[in-house]
């Protein structure tokens, strides 16, 4: 079946430009997560959605970062006025949430963002 998909797979942008990264979760998965991974580093949690709401935005590194999710499905992560330190792989994951329990996260292939 279809897994988590992300687009674009690669994005090169100039410093100061805005970028939008898209995540299509697995159908029926109500929980959605965004992470960032710099080269050779572990995953940095950015934001979590349950349905369309984001109960935890604590990981967003600055107010240049925002995310939304519509229809309980697709999510976009927007980075405004990109900086070179924003260069990383941005990973999206989704999981089922039944009642109060969350299940394992399924990850997409990521978007490699390079800010020049």
């Amino acid at each position: 079946g279809a897994g988590v998909s992300q687009s674009p797979s690669n994005k090169v942008t100039e410093k100061g430009k805005d970028v939008e990264l898209r995540c299509d979760p697995i159908s029926g998965h109500t929980a959605l997560y965004w992470y960032r991974q710099s080269l050779g580093q572990g995953l940095e949690f950015l934001i979590y959605f349950q349905g369309n709401s984001a109960p935890d935005k604590s990981g967003l590194p600055s107010d240049r970062f925002s995310a939304e999710r519509t229809g309980g499905s697709v999510s976009t992560l927007t980075i405004q006025r990109t900086q070179q330190e924003d260069s990383a792989v941005y990973l999206c994951a989704s999981s089922i949430r039944q009642g109060a329990r969350s299940y394992e996260q399924y990850f997409g292939p990521g978007t490699r963002l390079t800010v020049t």
């Binding site: 997560y33 992470y35 572990g42 949690f45 109960p55 990973l91 994951a93 969350s102 394992e104 990521g110």
Partner: protein, 111 residues
Amino acid sequence: LAKTTQPISMDSYEGQEVNITCSHNNIATNDYITWYQQFPSQGPRFIIQGYKTKVTNEVASLFIPADRKSSTLSLPRVSLSDTAVYYCLVGELYNNNDMRFGAGTRLTVKP
């Protein structure tokens, strides 16, 4: 948030059993222990999850002592394709957004 500590890297040889230990001294009563595997240029993949004692699936075993302050991921008879980064996460199953990925353990399997 329970903090986890893992070795930065480990080396092994094909056919050996590999044990990766994760320390989580301040694990909370409601926390579960989850391990993920990440290959280069891919997102992490769930391996195994447990609360206490021992859990086994087709990929690995997870050993958790009674005090739950550590856990050990055991990979039987590793192959070259098991070369990856392994992450230990601790968090509430009922509050998944509290789970945080650390730096992980980079396992290199040699021929």
